[in-house]
Every structure is written in structure tokens, then in C-alpha cells.
């Protein structure tokens, strides 16, 4: 039976690089996938691109490619990544430079464009009125930074057919990066929905890298994981019939168990019978996980339904500012002094007429993550940190929040220390849908022969 071995090289843009090198060197893999876009990443990258047309791709692209391309060339491993972010073309230029500098022979790079739909959104009044149902686009029109559709496997498969060694995309859906080589290598039909669904299940398990090999899982005493400082990235061995094995390099840290796979299977899932991707709607409700060896879990039973007519579009827009200040109190009466400090700052906001949409006050150590959900007796704390944060319309108001916390040094309760303050603009994301046929991705090839 045909099979393909696919590894994850990154589960987010800032991910570690050594585990990618390790899995490429020791994993006997055919593909390595770097999934580096979160909901907001592309909007942030678009801002970089607006400042400099040669930027707007992943900040670690150069470091990752320098480290991984020579190994992949030597071991005949293909690279697929969405590290192109807002500027896959410039990312392609950068990779070309790297390939030249490394003096490698015969490398084919494919750049996939077409996920940026901002032009379509602005120019087509029909789309603006009928498709952008979730947001009144007129209200935020002048504040929009980016609009990108989640695109599927088709252009990646085309690039593979044309013999590409490195494929760089923008907002390709996370799962599509992994699914494309399965379809290409295993000869699946793009409308064989059950196989596509099975592939999406595997892709979903893989897309967050270390989160399926024991990362984001340890809870000492309850869930122990060895050697997290050397956590290994996952490998999926996928078979023609849709069955897959999830594993890792034996000497790498971490673990692949039923528990790690269950947690990752449900990560960011809503209705498990309808996990929507551009390539098909996966159904997880008959998925079976079996522990068949050390760090070896067998995945079967993924099913699917036809792909959706519309593609999801993420729109990034500027949404005001956030300002924040923090200060710490310690020893006897720490919490009482922190509460007095908060009261003073709130009164100051009234006196100076702070204009904020929303203010939040946290006592870090007591309620900064969520308010206590049960009435448990409150025991005295060795130290506490007050955090006051607010959302404002403009930068000037945002700055005032931190400034007022800072002035507690000489004007507030006794013993306050360690003030930090910051302000930032808010790049918000809203999502909408666009008819699939309006989004055309295209493959641009660059070949290097020495």
C-alpha cells in the first residue's frame, strides 16, 4: 500500500527550529510542513509590507530555510509552508537568495498567490453588500489593513505535479498544507470526501506541531512528559486507505499517547461532526485512536462531506488602542494596599476625564485570568500585582492609563514597586465569507540550475 511520511516543522510562527532539523535528519520523512499563520499574523505582516514592500513574510523564514534547505536537498524532502504570510512573492525572493548562497543545484521553488482578496472586496460592490454579512464594512473601511481568504490544496498540488521542492504560500488553510501532499502522493481524488475527511483529521492533529507530541500537555503528578526542553515534532505516516500513524523521532523529548492525541484532536474544534476546511468538511465522530506502541498512535475512522461553497475570509482592521499599567505590593497588607491603589487610579481617571471604552482591574495572583469561580476562603498572599488596563479610541488616552499607575510611586499607598506600563494599537480580526469561485490562486515557479 502506498504511504507518505509527513512531519511538522513549525506549529506557529515563533516555534523552535531545532526540532524541525531533528525530524528532517532522523525522521525518514518525505515532506516537512511549516504552519506559521495564526488568525492575526497575516494582518500584522501586511502592516510590515505596507512599510516595506520587501517585508511582510515570516520573521523566522530566513533562519528556518538556511537551517532546513540543505538537509531537505540531501534527503529529498519537500518543504511546504505558509510562511509567505502577507508577501509570498518577497518570501520567494528571499528563499531564492538563500538557495543561491547555499550553491545548491536544481531546486524548484513555487510561490502561490491569490489569497489576498482585498482588491476584490473593495472593487466589487456585489461582494461588499452580499457577502460581508458579519460586519458593517463601511464603518471600518478606512481602518482595514488586510483581507485574506483561506485557500485550499489545489495550487499546492499543481506545484507538486510540476516538481516543486519548496512551496511557499500565504493564507492557505493550516490543514491544506498537510492534506495536499497526502492527495498528491497517495493518489486520492479531491472529491473522495471520506478520504479527504480522513486526511483532514490527520492534518488537524499535526498542524500545531509539538501540541500532539506532549507539548502544552504536562501537568506534574497527573500528566508527566519527559524532556520538554527537547520536545520532538510529530511525524504522520499516512496510508492510501486513509489510515495514519502519529509518531516522533524516538530520541526526541515528549510523548505521543492516546491522551496527547485526544487533546489535540479537540483543539479549536466546535461541532466535531463538521470541521470546516476549504477542501472538505471533516467528521471526527467515528475517529478511533489506538495506542499501538511506544509513541505510536494509529488514527482511523475520519470521514468527510463535500467542501463548502464559500471560503472564509479574515479581515484585519484597526480598532483603537489599549493602555496598561502594573505595580506590585508585598508583605503584610499587600492585597489591601493594592486595592487602595486601584481605587485611587479609578478616582484619578474621573478627575482627569479619561475617555475609555472599557477598563479592567486585575489583582494578579487572585483574579487576573478569571474571577474566582468558587467561594473559597482567601488566604493572605506573599505578594500581589495590580494591573489596570483599558481600551481607548486614541493613543493619547491609552498612554494616560499607564501614567496614572506609575504616579502611584510617589502619590499612592506605601511600598509599591516594579511599575511597568505600555500602550499599543489594536489590530482586530473579523471574519466573513466569499464565494469560492471568486478566489483564484496561481502558482509561480522559479527554477535554479547551477
Amino acid at each position: 500500500m502506498k504511504k507518505v511520511r509527513i512531519a511538522t516543522g513549525a506549529g506557529y510562527s515563533g516555534d523552535r527550529i531545532e526540532p524541525a532539523i531533528e525530524v528532517a535528519v532522523k525522521g525518514r520523512i518525505n515532506y516537512i510542513i511549516f504552519e506559521c499563520l495564526a488568525e492575526r499574523t497575516i494582518a500584522l505582516a501586511q502592516r510590515q509590507k505596507l512599510l516595506n514592500n520587501e517585508k511582510g513574510f515570516d520573521n523566522l523564514l530566513e533562519a528556518r530555510m538556511n537551517a532546513i534547505i540543505p538537509i531537505c536537498k540531501q534527503k529529498n524532502i519537500k518543504i511546504i509552508t505558509n510562511m509567505g504570510a502577507a508577501n509570498p512573492e518577497a518570501a520567494g525572493d528571499k528563499i531564492s537568495e538563500i538557495v543561491k548562497a547555499l550553491g545548491l543545484e536544481k531546486i524548484k521553488i513555487a510561490v502561490i498567490l491569490g489569497d489576498d482578496v482585498s482588491e476584490i472586496l473593495w472593487k466589487d460592490p456585489m461582494i461588499k453588500e452580499t457577502i460581508l454579512d458579519k460586519m458593517d464594512i463601511e464603518k471600518v473601511k478606512n481602518k482595514i489593513i488586510s483581507a485574506n481568504a483561506y485557500t485550499g490544496v489545489s495550487s499546492i498540488i499543481e506545484a507538486l505535479r510540476k516538481g516543486s521542492d519548496i512551496i511557499i504560500t500565504g493564507r492557505t488553510a493550516d490543514t491544506s498544507l498537510f492534506l495536499a501532499p497526502m492527495i498528491y502522493e497517495l493518489g486520492w481524488r479531491e472529491d473522495d470526501w471520506n478520504l479527504i475527511g480522513a486526511g483532514i483529521v490527520v492534518a488537524h492533529l499535526m498542524e500545531c506541531g509539538g501540541q500532539v507530541t506532549g507539548g502544552y500537555f504536562a501537568d506534574p503528578g497527573k500528566k508527566n512528559v519527559q524532556d520538554l526542553a527537547r520536545l520532538g515534532f510529530p511525524i504522520a505516516e499516512v496510508y492510501e486507505d486513509g489510515k495514519a500513524l502519529i509518531t516522533k523521532v524516538p530520541e526526541a523529548g515528549g510523548a505521543v499517547t492516546l491522551q496527547t492525541c485526544k487533546e489535540q484532536l479537540l483543539y479549536e474544534i466546535h461541532d466535531p461532526s463538521a470541521y470546516i476546511t476549504p477542501d472538505g468538511i471533516a467528521d471526527f465522530t467515528d475517529v478511533t485512536l489506538e495506542d499501538i506502541g511506544k509513541d505510536l498512535v494509529k488514527v482511523t475512522g475520519g470521514k468527510g462531506k463535500p467542501r463548502p461553497e464559500n471560503l472564509k475570509v479574515n479581515i484585519g482592521y484597526l480598532d483603537g488602542y489599549i493602555g496598561e499599567g502594573q505595580i506590585s505590593y508585598s508583605g503584610p497588607g499587600a492585597f489591601e494596599r493594592a486595592k487602595l491603589a486601584a481605587q485611587i487610579v479609578h478616582e484619578r481617571f474621573k478627575i482627569i476625564g479619561l475617555n475609555a471604552y472599557e477598563i479592567r482591574t486585575d489583582f494578579i495572583g487572585v483574579n487576573s485570568l478569571y474571577s474566582p469561580l468558587k467561594d473559597e476562603p482567601f488566604t493572605s498572599l506573599n505578594e500581589i500585582r495590580l494591573r489596570i488596563v483599558g481600551r481607548t479610541k486614541n493613543e493619547e488616552e491609552a498612554k494616560k492609563i499607564g501614567d496614572e499607575v506609575e504616579s502611584l510611586y510617589t502619590n499612592g499607598p506605601a511600598g509599591g514597586g516594579g511599575v511597568t506600563k505600555m500602550f499599543k494599537d489594536v489590530l482586530a480580526i473579523t471574519s466573513s465569507f466569499i464565494p469560492r469561485e471568486r478566489v483564484r490562486t496561481k502558482v509561480y515557479l522559479r527554477e535554479f540550475e547551477k
Partner: protein, 107 residues
């Protein structure tokens, strides 16, 4: 006799976020406890437990195939990760807030 334990003793959880929606998995260490969790941890009970945090509805999905529950909580992130003023804007720590819940067991 009934005894009270923390959910944390018998189950694990991971939180995920999309927009203003948080989802929490709830997975028993021992598959035999799946029915207990199904009986005890209803969407209604969670809605009450998270009443100060989750503004919208909570839906529960059952996955008997992997012995797990999935809770989808709407309006859980104060407008979503980009504008949520919470230190944990993604709601990642809500998984352990769930595991801090008490449940009563028959002895």
C-alpha cells in the same frame, strides 16, 4: 456517603479559541468515567459555573468514540483575542478553571 473531588483528579482538558468562542475538551483519564462526566458536567451546569465569563450559550458535544466531551462557549473572550483586556486573551487558562470544578461521587 458522597465524596467531593475536583474534576482535575479524573479528567484533563485543553482550551482552544476562534474569534470570541472558546472550546474546552474534557477527557477522563479512565474511559470508564466518561458516563460520569456526561451525567455530571452538563452544558447548563457549565453555563452557571462560568456565568461571570461566558456571555453567550454553551453547547456540549459528545464523542463516545474517544470518550471525550467538547464544550463550545460563545461570547467567552470579551469580544475575542484582539480586544480582550484579560491577561490571558485567548482564554487558554479556562481549561484549568474547568478542572477546578467540584463533582460529587458516590462512595
Amino acid at each position: 456517603m458522597r465524596k467531593r473531588i475536583k474534576l482535575w483528579k479524573i479528567a484533563h482538558s485543553r482550551a482552544g479559541d476562534k474569534g470570541d468562542i472558546s472550546n474546552l475538551s474534557l477527557i477522563p483519564y479512565d474511559e470508564k468515567d466518561f458516563n460520569l462526566l456526561k451525567r455530571e458536567i452538563t452544558a447548563e451546569r457549565l453555563k452557571y459555573y462560568f456565568r461571570g465569563i461566558v456571555k453567550g450559550r454553551i453547547e456540549r458535544y459528545e464523542l463516545p468514540n474517544i470518550h471525550a466531551l467538547n464544550f463550545v462557549m460563545y461570547g467567552a473572550l470579551s469580544g475575542g483575542v484582539t480586544r480582550n483586556l484579560c491577561l490571558d486573551a485567548h482564554g487558554k487558562t479556562l481549561s484549568f478553571a474547568l478542572l477546578n470544578m467540584d463533582i460529587d461521587l458516590d462512595d
